[in-house]
């Protein structure tokens, strides 16, 4: 995961976990990109460059053109390289959309509901974001959409569902996240309300029974409850060691959610290569520490379905990795509900 402008962003979303660094916009210099690219390509037979932020498109189209050029130059073994970008879509114009299409970038963005609900939480950006999505659609590609449930949209699952139906032709997937990781707790929805929201949305989805509407949040849970693998680190125990996140200065962290947090800093790519950084004793110790969950979680019947939750969310409220997961009750109730609901189909 690479943050070309760190946590810098042109929006000011109410629940952003990058809050402490949001206003610092510094574009990653090319010499850092030139170091990251071969280091990442050398790691495996198939690698992903997930461009994240902040708002990665603040780096400009030339940055991404350079990134693709470097990937081609350093990919001497011809391994599979995947590019994904998570963007608020407000800076996507026709030129960028076609660039992404031509270079097979997967594009993910966020919509928190209809314009009024979205604009409250995401800096009045609905129209611009939708225009960006339309440019992507024009280029023949789809987007994935993240919906963040917060204090303002939690009472409106039917309206969120209507938006999902409205956008299903342009979105390959929808992911419904509960706003709970922020240090600005004013915007976190009430747990009971958030649980009811998810249950009602699940009902609407399962009753519609249209498998082309991919609500990832529910699909990963159903997949697990039907004997498969959830495939999502926020629902699986101890997956943090599968990732590394690099900021605009070349600093490497466990995950982008921990960006600029000293506790999760692993090293700098200008001093060591990426493989050495993520396999260092420091990294191993940290991964071990992050994987600690409390006794109640270890003994919980839902552990294999929940994984103890996202380590960042456990840590951010308490400074402890073995603290309780803020969405614990919500998840338990949701898992039970889904299981019972299927039995009633």
């Amino acid at each position: 995961m690479i943050e070309p402008v760190g946590g810098g962003c042109n929006l000011n979303c109410i629940y952003c976990y990058q809050e402490p660094v949001r206003n610092r916009i510094q574009i990653m210099p090319f010499h850092i990109l030139e170091k990251i690219t071969p280091d990442n390509i050398a790691l495996r037979d198939r690698v992903k460059f997930l461009w994240h932020g902040g708002e990665p498109l603040l780096a400009g189209i030339d940055f991404f053109k350079k990134a693709v050029e470097l990937q081609k130059r350093f990919n001497q073994k011809g391994i599979k390289i995947i590019n994904s970008i998570q963007t608020n879509a407000t800076l996507i114009d026709r030129k960028l959309a076609w660039f992404f299409a031509e270079n097979d970038f997967r594009v993910g963005t966020s919509l928190d509901g209809s314009s009024d609900l979205h604009n409250i939480s995401r800096s009045n950006s609905f129209e611009k974001a939708l225009q960006g999505i339309r440019y992507i659609q024009e280029s023949g590609k789809d987007v994935g959409i993240v919906i963040t449930v917060n204090k303002y949209n939690v009472d409106f699952p039917e309206r969120i569902w209507e938006e999902i139906i409205e956008h299903k032709k342009i979105a390959t997937s929808f992911e419904v996240n509960i706003c709970s990781s922020t240090e600005l707790s004013d915007f976190v929805p009430d747990t009971e309300k958030a649980t009811i929201f998810l249950m009602q949305l699940f009902d609407l989805w399962i009753e519609k029974d249209d498998s082309s509407i991919y609500i990832k949040t529910f699909r990963v849970l159903l997949r697990y409850l039907m004997g498969g693998n959830a495939g999502d680190c926020a629902f699986e125990y101890s997956k943090c060691n599968q990732f590394a996140a690099i900021d605009e200065k070349g600093d490497v962290y466990v995950c982008n959610r921990f960006m600029k947090r000293d506790i999760a800093h692993l090293g700098n790519i200008l001093n060591q290569n990426l493989r050495d950084i993520i396999s260092s004793d420091k990294a191993k110790n940290l991964y071990h520490k992050i994987a600690s969950i409390k006794k109640e979680c270890r003994e919980c019947e839902w552990l294999m379905c929940c994984g103890g939750g996202c380590a960042f969310q456990r840590w951010v409220h308490t400074g402890r990795f073995d603290a309780g997961f803020p969405e614990c009750e919500l998840r338990k109730n949701l898992f039970s509900y889904i299981k019972d609901r299927i039995a009633r189909l």
């Binding site: 495996r44 997967r106 994935g144 159903l222 693998n229 990732f243 019947e301 299927i342 189909l345």
Partner: protein
Amino acid sequence: MENISIPILLVEKVVAKGGNILKTVKAEVKQKRLSEINYDDHCEWHDSGTGDCEDC
């Protein structure tokens, strides 16, 4: 784990009644079991909103 899974007979019953979503997820689970994908290699959260995982 066994006690929290949705019983396969229940899944079959819903699928037989035309349950499209369960039918799709059932096929997905089966396909994943049969394939040689190393699931540790990817994560859908980290795919963020960028769509489905490329292995699914």
